[in-house]
Amino acid sequence: MPARNNKQWNAAPNLELGEWVDSRIYSDEDIFEEELEKIWKKSWIPLCHESELPEPYDFRTAILAREPIIIVRGPDKKIRAFLNVCPHRGMAIERRPAGSFAPAQPSGNPKHMTCMFHAWQFDMKGNCVDIPREKEGYQDRLDKSSQGLRALRCEVKYGGFVWVCLDDQTPFNVESWTAGAMDCIKDSLDEEPLEIIHYHRAIIDCNYKLWHDTNSEFYHDYMHYHNRITGFDDGYFKRKCSAFDNGHVNVGTFTVNYEEYEVAEDRGKLTFPHLPPDNWYMVDMFPGINFNLRGSVVRFDLMTPLSANQVMIEFRGFGLKSDSAEDRAQRIHHHNTIWGPMGRNLHEDLVGIAGQGVTMMPKSETRRILHGRHEGLYIHDEVGMRHFYDVWGKWMDRLPSDPMQKYKQGKVVGPDMPPAKGLSVFPGKTAS
């Protein structure tokens, strides 16, 4: 087709509803704020892994939908999550990313969370246990027993990930939230304790969903030099994409031929439990989480949307806690050759979404983003994105291809696959 004038450029593509989206869903600041309220504050999000806080009194802080969160391990070893907010004057109680409350601190006592502002103190169950000069200041009008922290729903599930939900009234627990999408890797993650072996993060000027899109389709192989020339056999293109309730998708396994990889070796020996040698599963969880079990290592991406045009992506890698030093070094090597900051793929993926971010800034002209590939529901099919945006549309009650209109269902899936079972339970609504 020849180049287009403005009117032609802005016309709807000749595809069916559901096969493209309007770029305002990636750039509009009001839509972004609404997503935090309607989606991120309603979803179960795995914010960290239990091996990041292994000992009693260890903690980890995080942000979820702009809410500061602290996750702590109590003396009873149980992990609990709270808003990291002092009930007194709204100070952030803890500002370090991770650490331990066990030792005494300059502004706090051992084994307590202490707000450094006015020294209110809390135990690992969120009880307020000390308000300095409580009687003198409040007489009998306010008691510390009424000033506990805001506890959040929290579950440790699927190999030790710490899932948090800001919605007290969520109709889901983690298992029903994941709706079967994790079944393909569940046994591998749960067989024995995992341990974090890698962490880095990237802050990219683009909308968070663009990263999720990249994790949900595989034909950006064209961007990956190494992928183009090595490693894939016919099985690669026959990996099935499956849609699950609540917007999740997974990608079925195949056997990676690592001997074809440059600077990589066969990973069979260190393959995770219950996984055939060198197999590879991937799970994309709504609204922005990715689990990637590739033979000997697990990669876990967590997105924290910072603004309509900025996302923080945290990349974690996991091995088995029981690893020998030698096996651990090998796993780290396997992780980094593919997914490290200078690995085969990851930086190229980030270049891709950074380029999208440049063209889809707030107030940028509207563009139509195509998700219309049908390729038998295998990995070059864009069913993952179509499914995601169908659920997104329901939760937001907006039409992804024209977000100023109300949701209606478009062509989500390919001809040989019915819509994901149910698609029916989401907060406050029941679809027909």
């Binding site: 005494a104 006592n109 051992p110 084994k111 307590h112 000390d130 300095p132 729903r153």
Partner: protein, 125 residues
């Protein structure tokens, strides 16, 4: 366990606290001028290590974190403290300090609320 020699009198200057360990049990010894006291190393209020937070002057031990105080002469509560300091028996022999240790003295933690049922908790008014 029994009487154990912990240190020499001259090891602890007047108005100071020193921490010692015997068989894995940590104790603090305070020289308050007119005598010595031996007690566990943590403040019974919020577990603060008293060897760092404790100040000793005029017979008064003060935890500088929240100003709980104990009278070292009588061993009793002074000022804002709400819990007694647990004490070990102590005696002086040949310029050495001996402390009677049966078991480590441990403060009972405040009772924490029973774990509530999650659904009751998150749906409560």
């Amino acid at each position: 366990m029994s009487w154990r020699k912990i240190c020499a009198v001259s090891d602890i200057p007047e108005n100071s606290l020193e921490k010692f360990e015997t068989d894995g049990i940590e104790i603090l010894i305070a020289n308050y001028g007119e005598g010595f006291r031996a007690f566990p190393p943590r403040c019974p209020h919020m577990d603060e290590p008293l060897c760092e937070s404790g100040m000793l002057f005029d017979g008064l031990l003060t935890c500088s974190k929240h100003l709980w105080q104990w009278d070292m002469k009588t061993g009793e509560i002074a000022g804002m403290a709400e819990k007694d300091l647990l004490m070990y028996d102590i005696k002086l022999e040949n310029s050495d300090i001996h402390v009677y240790i049966e078991n480590a003295l441990v403060y009972e933690d405040d009772e924490e609320a029973e774990e509530e049922d999650e659904e009751d908790f998150f749906n409560a008014d």
